[in-house]
Amino acid sequence: MTKDDLFNDMARAIVEGDRHAAEALAKEALSRNLDLHEVVEKGYIAGIQKVGDLWERGDYFLPELITSAECMKAAMAVLRPALERARIADLSLGKVVIGTIEGDIHDIGKNLVASMLSANGFEVSDLGADVKLERFIQSALDMKADFICLSALLTTTMLGQRRFMELLKERGLRSQFKVLVGGAPVNQKWADSIGADGYAENAPAAVKLAKSLRGKR
């Protein structure tokens, strides 16, 4: 199998949600001593990007998204030791702190965003649900995060996103992080009105948004 065929198969394994194939191909890449940077970029990431496209076209829905993200995770687990040995750190697209805001325990959407960001190469720290505003800030400072993602599923708890923006400003930390907001009642208008850096309607859109904001200030 040529290298390109292998990459195509990797992408296909992710798109089709074939976890066995995704893992087996990762092992093959290791045994063939391939450039892991290339393997990740041209094989797996290409696959998960295709998944995002299929979602955008309406062909894929949550189950497909989750299966693909899980395949991605499995393949990366195979590659991780070698990646670390090779010190390929520049594969990370950035550090993300994510959580559902205080008062809100809904976390399906947030979990999806977290796993898609992670599948696409972001380093994600998921704080869970009902997270105090203070904890978002502390965690972001601790891990030197690039992004803080706030989820809210209720119009009531959504107001916490605004309070978070105010808190960030009070602390003089506004310029240190990019803040992305999401959740069923949230929209672009709301994101603009509270001065967040961006809004994404769903997990693949969040990936796109985070990528587009990378390195910008």
Binding site: G58, F61, K189
Partner: protein
């Protein structure tokens, strides 16, 4: 600066302040434009035609909605339109709230009347000159049982109405313990009460003869609180942001109820003062908003309520149109998301007295599910979202005249509308039929994907289903499915162990059982074991109004029901994701 807004087809002119949002101005003027998204520009229901005046460039979402609805370029969303100059708009018929939702009567069981309000006729006697008994002592002689003595205000009225004649009088006794009122002459036959289903979208009031338990009339109307938000959470948010709104919300629902009660009483020539009791059943938030209780805690974790069961309240404190000396009883809330409407529904079906294992499902924006295993009850709620009420669906609408409620395939697609009117949109049961039919034909895959290149399914009559619509139904059905699955697994029951499923809620008898089972919305069970109970909240409110035994039973049941929160169940996500597939239960 004031601007002039002319509204067609009524032709009315309204003075509006600059920068007012158009939908607000129209609502202010009493034009009930629909908004299902809390005026966020998302649902596309409030399009109006700009006849004269500025037409700002539509935003991306608005443009997309315009194209999807195939509307001409001079339509704009009223919720996004800020008035900057004089304006003439035409309101399309489908953009205003339908006045009369369709009445759905469900299953009713016979309840032996035993009302809290009793009218007892008595003959006051002229006190003896030698030792004239006071009126209050005389009342005590007539009614030794009521523990509470007649209040000074009541005695004053009695003194006036006896007016030296000492003729026949009627005492109104509550629960055998309290004298509510005195009436002149024999009014024993005039004993009326009203049962109310306090729905988030629709209010239903039933006028009942308390002596016989017979229904005199039923009327429905839309809940006036809708202008503060279509769903419970957005109404709570309105109060959240401005505590003064609590009173406005209370007044809104009271006004709606007042109009309904007034109309019904007038029609049957019943004086308001002959209504001594009203029983209401609503979800926990609606019950709170009706009484003006704080709702903040209902929408923030850990989501607790202020009250569950309440004693009957003095009517004068509630503001309802009825005899101010009467009583108002609110069906007991089970938990924050399983309210008095469900407690009433359980009373209506008398589930507690049936042998076996049963599911009770109320399908609405919030899907409430109760599982009865032997004598044990477990309840949960699941956020189905408003798709089954036709909201967030491109061509969706409430189950009102003109809504496609049923569809069949005979050579070609045939749709049936409520009231046999020209098709205006699709309601929940219509959606279920349509998706099931196209699933059967392979046009929609079990994963919910519309096959082939097209992203929409055209249904004729200018109606269509989009890929996103199908996703919304997948989410709604999966929420219900997940709730049922988790409750069954918690109690270690299989579907085959069920003796029946009661289906309550807006769907009524319109829900097609085989189609619902094909989507997996209902578990596969013998068709005869599926029992539609229609508006069980209303039927239950009536049971609680007519019988004090039913009331006591209902309160005991509400106390003992176990409640589980699905969101904290570790199996929730996995079960939910699996449930997104359209597949019959195995």
């Amino acid at each position: 600066m004031n601007l002039t807004l002319k509204v067609l087809p009524q032709g009315r002119s309204i003075q509006v302040r600059k920068n007012t949002v158009l939908i607000e101005a129209l609502h202010e003027a009493g034009v009930d434009l629909i908004s299902f998204c809390n005026k966020q520009g998302l649902c596309g229901k409030c399009f109006v035609e700009i006849m004269k005046g500025k037409r700002p460039e539509p935003g991306a979402q608005e443009k997309w909605l315009l194209a999807r609805k195939r509307l001409p370029g001079n339509f704009r969303l009223a919720c996004l339109y800020r008035m900057t100059g004089d304006l003439t708009v035409r309101i399309p018929e489908e953009a205003t709230l339908p006045l009369m939702p369709v009445l759905k009567r469900g299953f009713r069981r016979v309840i032996q009347p035993n009302p809290a309000v009793r009218k007892i006729v008595f003959a006051p006697f002229r006190p003896d000159l030698a030792s004239p008994l006071s009126l209050s002592d005389q009342i005590r002689a007539h009614f030794p049982r009521p523990g509470k003595k007649a209040s000074p205000a009541l005695l004053k009225d009695l003194a006036v109405l006896l007016d030296d004649s000492y003729g026949t009088a009627t005492a109104v006794i509550y629960d055998g313990a309290e004298i509510l009122d005195f009436e002149a002459a024999d009014t024993a036959e005039q004993n009326f009460g009203i049962a109310i289903d306090l729905g988030t979208t629709t209010l239903v009031a039933e006028l009942v003869n308390l002596n016989t338990g017979k229904t005199i009339d039923v009327v429905t109307a839309l809940n006036g609180q809708a202008r503060f938000g279509a769903d419970v959470i957005s109404r709570i948010t309105a109060v959240f942001q401005d505590p003064l709104k609590s009173e406005a919300l209370r007044t809104a629902v009271l006004d709606s109820l007042k109009a309904m009660i007034e109309g019904m009483l007038k029609k049957h020539r019943i004086p308001v003062h002959h209504v001594y009791e009203v029983v209401l059943a609503g979800n926990t938030a609606m019950n709170h908003l009706f009484l003006g209780s704080p709702v903040k805690t209902l929408a923030v974790s850990p989501y607790h309520a202020v009250f569950s069961a309440l004693p009957p309240l003095p009517a004068s404190e509630t503001g309802l149109l009825m005899n101010p000396r009467g009583k108002v009883y609110v069906a007991p809330n089970i938990r924050s998301f399983v309210g008095g409407d469900i407690a009433a529904g359980l009373a209506a079906t008398d589930l507690a007295h049936q042998k076996g294992n049963f599911l009770f499902i109320d399908l609405g924006t919030n899907g409430e599910i109760v599982l009865k295993k032997g004598r044990q009850f477990t309840a949960t709620s699941t956020a189905a979202g408003p798709a089954f009420e036709g909201m967030n669906i491109s061509c969706g609408m409430l189950a009102v005249p003109g809504a496609v409620y049923k569809a069949e395939f005979r050579d070609r697609l045939k749709v049936m509308t409520i009231g046999n009117r020209p098709a205006l949109g699709i309601c929940g049961t219509g959606l279920i039929d349509l998706i099931s039919l196209y699933l059967e034909r392979g046009v929609i895959s079990p994963q919910g994907h519309i096959q082939g290149g097209e992203k929409t399914i055209s249904l004729g009559h200018n109606l269509f289903l989009s890929q996103k619509d199908i996703r919304e139904v997948q989410l709604a059905a999966a929420a219900v499915k997940t709730g049922i699955r988790l409750l069954l697994s918690l109690d270690k029951l299989a579907v085959a162990d069920l003796d029946g499923i009661y289906v309550a809620g807006a769907f009524g008898n319109y829900l097609n059982i085989p189609n619902s089972m094909r989507l997996g919305l209902l578990p596969r069970l013998d068709k005869k074991k599926i029992i539609f109970v229609g508006n069980s909240s209303l039927a239950g409110a009536k049971a609680l109004l007519v019988s004090t035994q039913e009331r006591a039973r209902c309160e005991r049941l509400a106390q003992k029901i176990r409640h589980v929160a699905l969101a904290t169940d570790t199996a929730f996500l996995k079960t939910f994701i699996e449930a997104l597939e359209f597949r019959a239960w195995t």
